[in-house]
């Protein structure tokens, strides 16, 4: 089994995609946040790799091509953004307000919780950029002297979590305006949350895309000020 997987460029990816499809079927059937296709795909793939004793590096040789597509796909988020531009302009006050609130809330909840849990400065700055897109978050963590690998892991976990529970949170907090939903997904769980917002609708997707770029850049600006607080 492991020799087949180790010598295959497609086997790992095929397993991941099959698990993803399985996740979408389960999600449709049970309508529970825990049956999140992305989460299921990640867990099943890890289980298969561990069971077959295949290293991540081997899997990544084939699956890396999926990640390779991320940059062009993110560039394409400009298309829904352009299509919803009129709506966005009309709601610019809400967009600015939502994004600034999101960024300040993210940085201050990390500050307060890190202080309550007694984290050291280096651990605190590692977690500061947790809500923003991976590439920007890595840069912020590095700049502030954090542990970059942990930052990346926490950013991915945050994204999957937002993707998973965003729908439940919209109901719980009675967020029903499509634009507000989109901003909430993008500000709390960056591009991974945005893929979920995209499934809800064009407006949600466009607003979430905008929030990825805006919260990322605003976090670069505010994070260094917050870093000195603990």
């Amino acid at each position: 089994m492991n020799t087949i997987l180790e010598n295959s460029a497609y086997g790992g990816v095929a397993i991941s995609l099959m698990a993803y499809m399985l996740g979408t079927v389960l999600k449709k059937k049970f309508r529970l946040a825990i049956f999140n296709p992305l989460l299921i795909s990640i867990l099943v793939t890890i289980a298969v790799l561990v069971a077959a004793d295949v290293d991540y590096a081997v899997y990544e040789r084939g699956a890396g091509y999926l990640s390779w597509l991320l940059t062009p796909a993110t560039v394409c988020l400009a298309i829904p953004l352009y299509e919803q531009w009129e709506l966005l302009k009309k709601n610019r006050a809400a967009v600015v307000c939502g994004i600034l609130t999101g960024v300040i809330t993210s940085l201050s909840t990390v500050l307060v919780l890190a202080w309550l849990l007694g984290l050291k400065h280096r651990e605190y700055v590692t977690l500061l950029p947790k809500s923003i897109t991976t590439a920007i978050g890595m840069g912020v963590s590095e700049e502030l002297g954090g542990y970059v690998t942990i930052t990346v892991a926490v950013i991915i976990i945050t994204g999957v979590l937002g993707n998973m529970i965003g729908g439940v949170l919209c109901r719980l907090f009675q967020i029903s305006e499509p634009a507000a939903k989109g901003l909430a997904f993008g500000a709390s769980s960056h591009a991974i949350g945005t893929t979920r917002a995209m499934e809800l609708g064009e407006v949600e997707g466009a607003m979430s895309s905008l929030a990825i770029a805006a919260t990322g850049i605003a976090t670069v600006v505010f994070a260094s000020a917050f870093a000195n607080l603990l």
């Binding site: 993803y20 990640i42 597509l69 560039v75 770029a213």
Partner: protein, 122 residues
């Protein structure tokens, strides 16, 4: 041919984004520069939506699966995460929920306030 042209255009913009990432000393990734560049080109009419639409929508539609490798990569981060598991889990959960609620509620409050103001005018 249509798809090839669209893909070429998207990749070229990604490449220019890479150059931006390399030359501008900010922690902004190529993808964000590329997104801004494509947006400006669409808005200014240099690129027509038809020149990127189908391939762009396809890439966006399959985007969720592009995060699977990064997620599977968590199996290698387990060793470094383990000592910090409790604080990291608490902070991740609480802050994700709080940010989601604060962003959504504040934006919704502004949108509804504007709607009410518009209705009052009529």
């Amino acid at each position: 041919m249509k798809y090839l042209k669209q893909f070429l255009l998207i990749l070229s913009i990604s490449f220019v984004g890479e150059l931006g990432n390399r030359w501008i000393p900010l922690p902004v990734p190529a993808s964000i520069y590329g997104m801004v560049i494509l947006f400006v080109l669409l808005l200014s009419g240099v690129i027509k939506p038809d020149m990127v639409r189908e391939t762009g929508k396809f890439l966006i539609a399959i985007m969720p699966v592009m995060f699977i490798p990064a997620g599977v990569g968590l199996m290698d981060s387990w060793a470094v995460l383990k000592p910090l598991l409790v604080p990291v889990s608490v902070i991740t959960f609480v802050s994700t929920v709080t940010v989601f609620a604060a962003t959504g509620r504040s934006a919704q409050w502004m949108i509804r306030r504007k709607k009410r103001a518009e209705e009052a005018e009529q």
